[in-house]
Amino acid sequence: MDEVLLSRWQFAITTVYHFLFVPITLGLAFFIAMLETWYVKTGEEKYRSLTQFWGKIFLVNFAMGVVTGIVQEFHFGMNWSEYARFMGDVFGAPLAMEALTAFFLESTFLGIWLFGWDKLSKKVHALCIWIVAFSSSLSAFWIIVANSFMQNPVGFAIQNGRAEMVDFVSLITNPYAASMYVHTWTSALATAGVLIVAVCAYQILAGRHTEMFKSCMKGGLVVAMVGLLSVMGTGHMQAQMIHDYQPMKSAATEAIWDTVDPAPFYLTAEIDEEEGKNDGGIKVDGALSALLYNKFEGEVVGMNQLQAEYVEKYGEGNYIPEVSALFWSFRAMVIAGSVMMAVVGLAFLAMLFGRLERYSLLLRGLIMMLPLPFIANSCGWFVTEGGRQPWIVYGLQKVADAVSPNLTTTEIWISMVGFTLVYAALIVAALWIVMKHIKTFGMTEEAKKGASLWN
């Protein structure tokens, strides 16, 4: 493999690792803040216990998020130095703003929150976790602003051989960023919601602190419902946005090779990337136009036509991303979302009728769903980033021109294998810690020793 491909793999691997933890941080922080606020208001011990129960899980997750995130910031310089040179004037600013406005707040107040149970008044203590929740969402905003510049560059001019920022306000009010932010943020809420209900279901089935986790289940189901419904709604908006700003990504995700009106939605497709056509597939006529234009007509420009247009505009080259991979990733994301919606919706109804605890199958279903939000999130990012290829910044710089010129494949192999293995080992350790915590929560030290973690 060459330096470009290896660097892409490395960035993809560390990003996927990072984004396993980020959505939990974003969503769970607000849930914990609400639990603690409830504790402050009612004074009921059960909410304090729940705050601490989730607090520990949050913390292990947060630590993993921090140590995977720090590598991201370094990567831009380490593996993508030509990108940093060309885009640094624009792209560096949101990263620096993220550190200044969000990272400081987040880590400082999390430290106070963790160690401050006995040192602060209840209200100030609860305020600390609200600040953590707010600042983690703020940090997500800055990084989405940075990413949106790569998708839909705005507020810049190409001068002196690089992209230079000319309008900071339009950089942060990039319409692409607004749409992407709400989709990412609601997906985080859905992820946290699904995690909460899965853990609650697990505890209820095992008969551990049943009363406490029954109340928690109610809150969790509300979070999961709100999250899933809104992630679908914002996803719909996001798809229309992508069609407007990145027609190639949109066409590739839907396997539309040639311009068509009204456009069909392919449920499955036999994609022939060599020939640039589909050999068959199950399609719903007009459905894609309906999704993109909210009516059963509307033109969707095909990849073959876009390719010709881009060759004229940007010169020779292949501007079609990996169609099959995008097509199936998108469908995997949608299916995962729909399955979650169905199971959580059923559980929500059962809860409204006060019968959830009786349906152990439904509770098991909630547990089984736990991998789905992570699969959906990773697939979503794959479509976002994979669909941008061959560009690192849409229309301005290609990925192949962005890689550090001085790196050897050996160096990249060393760091890629190193990070991958260390992260994998740490995830195993983190899962072990969280499982142990779930199973032994509230036990005395003596009882913990006897508790088995493996059944």
């Binding site: 913390l59 292990v60 630590a63 921090v66 140590v67 720090i70 910031e73 370094f74 831009f76 310089g77 380490m78 130095s81 030509e82 940093a84 040179r85 885009m87 640094g88 004037d89 624009v90 560096g92 600013a93 990263l95 620096a96 703003m97 550190a99 200044l100 406005t101 990272f103 880590s107 400082t108 107040f109 430290g111 106070i112 963790l114 160690f115 401050g116 149970w117 006995d118 040192k119 230079e164 920022m165 000319v166 900071f168 550090s404 010129p405 001085n406 790196l407 160096e411 060393i414 760091s415 190193g418 990070f419 260390v422 740490l426 350790a429 983190a430 810690i433 142990k436 915590h437 030290e445």
Partner: protein, 335 residues
């Protein structure tokens, strides 16, 4: 003042904050294994920085982010050039970051031992590497006319850079020991002071060696402000050591903090107006002019930094005030 100069100063300020705060964090991290005799003591040592270490580490992240925003070419050249060194640095920081959280989650000695060593190496390795990095910036590395690093990993390891690395490590160990004398109860505090006297002696020796070699291998001392800052750094370190000797630990810590600040000022003043020196041709060095962002970006970032850094300082100082009491073996706290 010109925006480029302001940003040079701001980056220097961020590095001063980073070396001062992470300096004692790294020191405490090493002391967990060097000073803690049993599980309780090691837990106490970790708790001295427990609430603050993550916020302190953000100074480094921010310094990196600020460099990206203000001097993207420095960020690009340094991070791609020091590739394997940064890989090792990142591995150390990864292990250290999770170790603080993971260590307390199980009581088995093997589990704790593993994470304590992670904290030890996760603190010692970055301390050493940052010293090596700073020395390389000022001594010069092979950078070509396109601002691209053309050396190898081993070009970064010279006697001068390694001595500077060791000096950073020992100064931070001393600084951390001084911090611990203020943050824990006896008898651990007394032993921290003994450790400070050992580490401080070695640190003095290494710091003098580092400054001597800096005069020999770099042109830093030709700058009067750098020379003054380095001399002050040395005097302050001696003063700190004398205070420690006479058991005035608080003053010892204040002086060690000031010494680290002056040491950082010295290196930056010696670099000015350069940020990375090219050993191939002085013309190819990265400076605050040829490596900078546009005045527009610098202006936006200046406004942000001038508004936000004081706020950050205020709430970080508040944190230290909340946790001002000495750590005892009986605290019922997290970790």
């Amino acid at each position: 003042m010109e925006l480029n100069v302001i940003w040079f100063v701001l980056v220097a300020v961020l590095f001063i904050g980073f070396f001062f705060l992470e300096g004692f964090d790294y020191g405490v991290g090493m002391l967990v294994k060097l000073l803690g005799r049993d599980d309780t003591e090691r837990g106490m040592l970790i708790r001295t920085i427990g609430p603050v270490w993550d916020g302190n580490e953000v100074w480094m992240i921010t310094a990196g982010g600020a460099m990206f925003a203000a001097f993207p070419h420095v960020y690009a050249t340094m991070f791609s050039g020091f590739y394997l060194a940064l890989f090792v640095l990142l591995l150390a920081l990864i292990m250290r970051g999770v170790a603080f959280e993971f260590r307390g989650q199980d009581k088995s000695p093997a589990w704790r031992n593993f994470w304590e060593w992670s904290i030890f190496f996760g603190s010692a390795v970055p301390a050493l590497l940052w010293g090596v990095a700073v020395a390389n910036l000022i001594a010069g590395v092979p950078i070509n006319e396109k601002m691209i690093y053309v050396g190898t990993f081993f070009d970064l390891l010279t006697p001068y850079t390694l001595v500077t690395g060791v000096a950073f490590l020992l100064v931070f160990l001393y600084h951390g020991s001084a911090f611990v004398t203020l943050k824990v109860v006896e008898p651990l505090a007394g032993r921290a002071r003994d450790m400070a006297l050992y580490a401080g002696g070695l640190a003095l020796f290494a710091a003098i060696a580092c400054l001597g070699l800096t005069a020999l291998y770099t042109d830093a001392m030709t700058s009067a402000p750098a020379l003054i800052a380095f001399v002050l750094a040395a005097i302050l370190l001696v003063l700190s050591y004398l205070c420690m000797l006479f058991d005035v630990c608080k003053k010892a810590f204040i002086f060690s903090s000031l010494s680290i600040a002056m040491l950082t000022v010295g290196f930056f003043a010696g670099l000015f107006p350069r940020l990375m020196v090219s050993s191939l041709n002085p013309e190819w060095s990265l400076t605050i002019y040829n490596a900078a962002s546009t005045p527009y970006t610098l202006k936006i970032m200046t406004i942000a930094a001038v508004c936000l850094v004081p706020i950050v300082l205020a709430y970080q100082i508040w944190t230290y005030w909340v946790f001002r009491k000495r750590v005892t073996p009986f605290d019922d706290a997290h970790y």
